[in-house]
């Protein structure tokens, strides 16, 4: 009886910022064979799940930043949070992504200064 109550509430009350459903949907499809279909309520559910995930990781990352008396969250705070929350694989992958990101950022700023 109340399965769609949350969705009804969401349409009348101001909704918190969400990731765009198009991006979420695209990411979901990338994990499925092309013949597989996705029901629209699944996309909405995934959007909410990702929202919760961000909130959880952010909260944990903020605790670390607080403990180190910093006011700005950094990449290591996020990696630490992922590890603490049990997403060990994400933490390991995260280190790889961050190192590539830092390399790319370094290259980008070098090309700017050389002009």
């Amino acid at each position: 009886m109340s399965t769609h109550a949350d969705q009804d509430e969401a349409s009348s009350a101001p909704t918190p910022t969400q990731l765009p459903i198009a991006n979420v949907s695209r990411l979901m499809k990338q994990s499925l064979p092309p013949t597989m279909k996705l029901s629209s309520d699944t996309k909405l559910l995934m959007q909410s799940c990702t929202q919760e995930f961000i909130a959880l990781v952010t909260s944990e990352a903020q605790e670390r930043a607080d403990a180190q008396k910093r006011s700005t969250l950094n990449g290591d705070d996020v990696l630490y949070a992922l590890g603490v929350l049990g997403f060990d694989e994400y933490e390991k992958l995260g280190r790889v992504w961050l190192s590539r990101y830092r390399l790319a950022q370094g290259a980008a700023s070098q090309s700017k200064t050389s002009k």
Binding site: L45, C49, A61, D66, L73, G86, Y101
Partner: protein
């Protein structure tokens, strides 16, 4: 190199991810690396959850992934207890009616 113009790209819009992070009242500021790292973590998270839901759909021999596939995937994956409010436990009708009367 063209690649240097799109460093370690994310498939989620940075500004939106940042906005969600900043909606936490305890957060003052969020660096670019943190936004990027969370964005990438989300991509992997969605990937794993969908893969898991897909397994559930295949078990039921369906050609579409539906709500309960994701629900079951969540319940069978460790560390996803925080999602229990998003997908409430389905309880017997009699129990639901009893709780409603309280």
């Amino acid at each position: 190199l063209r690649a240097s113009r799109k460093p370690g790209t994310s498939q989620l819009p940075t500004a939106r991810v940042k906005k969600i992070i900043l909606s936490d009242p305890d957060v003052d500021a969020c660096g670019k690396e943190a936004t990027f790292a969370i964005g990438k973590a989300c991509e992997i998270y969605i990937h794993h959850l969908v893969e898991s839901a897909y397994t559930q759909a295949r078990l039921d021999k369906r050609k579409a992934v539906v709500y309960r596939d994701v629900s079951r995937a969540i319940k069978s994956t460790p560390h996803l207890e925080f999602l229990m409010d998003v997908v409430p436990q389905s309880i017997p009708l009699s129990q639901a009616l009893t709780e409603r009367q309280r």
